[in-house]
């Protein structure tokens, strides 16, 4: 599904990713852990096509297509989804209208018929329920005045509506209390599917108690320095990142 080979990228003239390689097959969940400044968020931003991140080397193939040549919206339409660490507040644009525009764009790309407003509202209300968001959130501005937990649940709701092939969760657990974490994890687990893959970027092992990964990778200094099964996360939690860094040296 996703094949990253020797990816190198820089932000504002600073090299962040320094030869990252990763292969993800359909249905797999990969966790990416690592210390601050390792390049975890950069990876999500580079994959989703954020401007200002310059790819200086390597390839990224998504479902056989070179996504590095696509802009952000094309990647999203191809089925790539980034759940933001800090979802943006957009007052004046209602959540419902935003979601409708997004679903319209993606359905059109897939050659599916546009949904009527009534159909869409019904669907959006269902998804709200699944992530435990009151449906009044649909009428409010995008993320406007949402608590941290509500913002993250809104991200998961978008994921449910857009039905992407690959979901990148960028530190979705940051700022969440245990209840919100469970709701988010349940949302993600309900979306597990043999054809859908996940990249879970996180600092802490805690989230992985709820979303059990198939693989755990350690990202340090722009490269994956160690990969393993879910037990690697526990080991990291116990020994800290210096353990890996020490091992490398």
């Amino acid at each position: 599904m996703l094949s990253i080979k020797n990816l190198q990228a820089k932000v504002e003239e600073k090299d962040i990713l320094k030869g990252l390689s990763l292969d993800i097959k359909p249905g797999e969940i990969h966790a990416i852990m690592g210390p601050n400044g390792a390049g975890k968020s950069t990876l999500g931003n580079v994959l989703s096509g954020r401007e200002g991140y310059e790819v200086t080397g390597g390839t990224v193939s998504f479902d056989g297509k070179n996504i590095l040549e696509m802009n952000a919206e094309e990647r999203a339409r191809e089925g790539l989804f980034l759940a933001f660490q800090y979802p943006v507040e957009i007052p004046g644009v209602s959540n419902l209208e935003f979601l409708k525009a997004s679903v319209d764009a993606i359905r059109e790309h897939r050659g599916e018929e546009a949904m009527s407003s009534v159909e869409f509202l019904k669907l959006a209300r269902e998804k709200c329920k699944l992530v435990n968001l009151d449906q009044s959130f649909l009428k409010r501005g995008v993320n406007e005045g949402f608590s941290c937990g509500e913002k993250k649940r809104n991200e998961i709701m978008q994921m449910m509506l857009l039905e992407p092939k690959l979901c990148i969760l960028d530190e979705t657990d940051s700022g969440l209390d245990i209840d919100a974490l469970q709701v988010v994890a349940e949302g993600v687990n309900s979306q597990r599917d043999p054809n859908r893959s996940f990249i879970i970027v996180t600092h802490y092992q805690r989230l992985l108690d709820y979303i059990v990964p198939d693989f755990v990778h350690v990202l340090a200094d722009g490269k994956i320095v160690k990969s393993g099964g879910k037990e690697l996360a526990l080991e990291l939690e116990e020994k800290g990142y210096s353990w890996i860094e020490g091992e490398e040296a």
Partner: protein, 446 residues
Amino acid sequence: MAAVDFNQQAVAFASGANNNDLFKSLNEQGLNKFKALPFPTRKTEDWKYTSLFALTKNDYNQSIQSSDLSGLESLYEIAGLNANRLVFVNGVFKAEASSIEFQAGVVISSFLTADSNIKSDISNQVGKLAESDRNLFTALNNAQVNDGVFIKVDKNVQVDKPIHIVNVTTAQAKTATAFARCYIELAQHANATVIEQFVSSNEEQNVLLNQTTEAVIGDGAKLNHYRLNSEHESSLHFGGVYVNLNRDSQFESYQVLLGGQIKRLDILVNHNVGGRHCEMKGVYLPKHDQHVDIHSYIEHKAPNCTTSEVYRGIMADQSKAVFNGRIHIHPDAQKTFAELSNKNLLLSDKATINTKPELEIYADDVRCAHGATVAQLDEKAKFYLRSRGISAKQADIMLSFGFINELLDSIPLDALRIKMRPLMAEQFTSNKELTKHLLHEDEAGL
């Protein structure tokens, strides 16, 4: 073409006007005031950023030749708005397009068709508020006022239907000025909604519309006032709104201005007696070479009054806008609470905004805040939308519209809000595909 002397021609035009007798003294007084006022230049503080050069290129001080309404009705239809309606074309009242429902305690009439027992009221009241000392166009309006709208609501009466005043301008054989006028008086605890709408035929305009509105809001009374300018982009509009608030009264105003060749609105609100509230919200959206200028003056002369002013503008292409919001707290106006916010979005490198929020405070126990911002579209927000499959172009439109939608969303009159939202969105694109995300409120079942 040789430059024309606007003032000289205006005086000749007003002196030769064949107006009705109702406003003999006001006409005379206005003309005298006008004669004493110089034609504004860039050195005139109130006109620093708005050039009136266009008014010296042609002679606008000529009378209207035709005022045919046929085929223009759709310009001002507001679906679902059940209103008393008065239609004027180039300042001429069109009884056939107007409809006023009788209601006890309410007078709604054009000046010229008013019952004879009301005419003395009209003659005595109109012009009471419109300060012509500093505004050239108001002085000229006073000098030329002939027809207009008179609204008087008795004590404790709530006007059942909104009052929809339509001012249409159409192109003339030669340049001309149309005068329009509106006078509103609400007695104690009366309540009314007035919508002043300005539209024009969809063709190059050569009529200057000079319009003045006066509103006296009695003790405990409330006026909901809307002013919607959506004329052709070549239009010339000079508007003045003068409001006097009495004890515990309220003035709630929404202004929406699309751009014109020159569009200027002066609003003066007087808090003369304590306990009143003034709330003004405005949106201006010039594009191409259009120009919009809003000057508001709020005079707090008495204690315990509040003012909230929120204006937002989006300037596209080479357009220009001017916002000058002045709140003046006089020494007696203790316990005043006043806030003024003006936020602007520039969509192009060539667009301009000149904004000046002014607070002048001479009382010591007041709470006041003012601020202005100028920004471009938020790149983070744009990426967020694009990361959900929304095209860059549509994201721009969603964000631009969102910037003003916060104000549009607060319009309490449903029919108007539903009319304005798509109309405003169309300002950013003519491609309906790019605005189809805007859901019709009823349709979405919200």
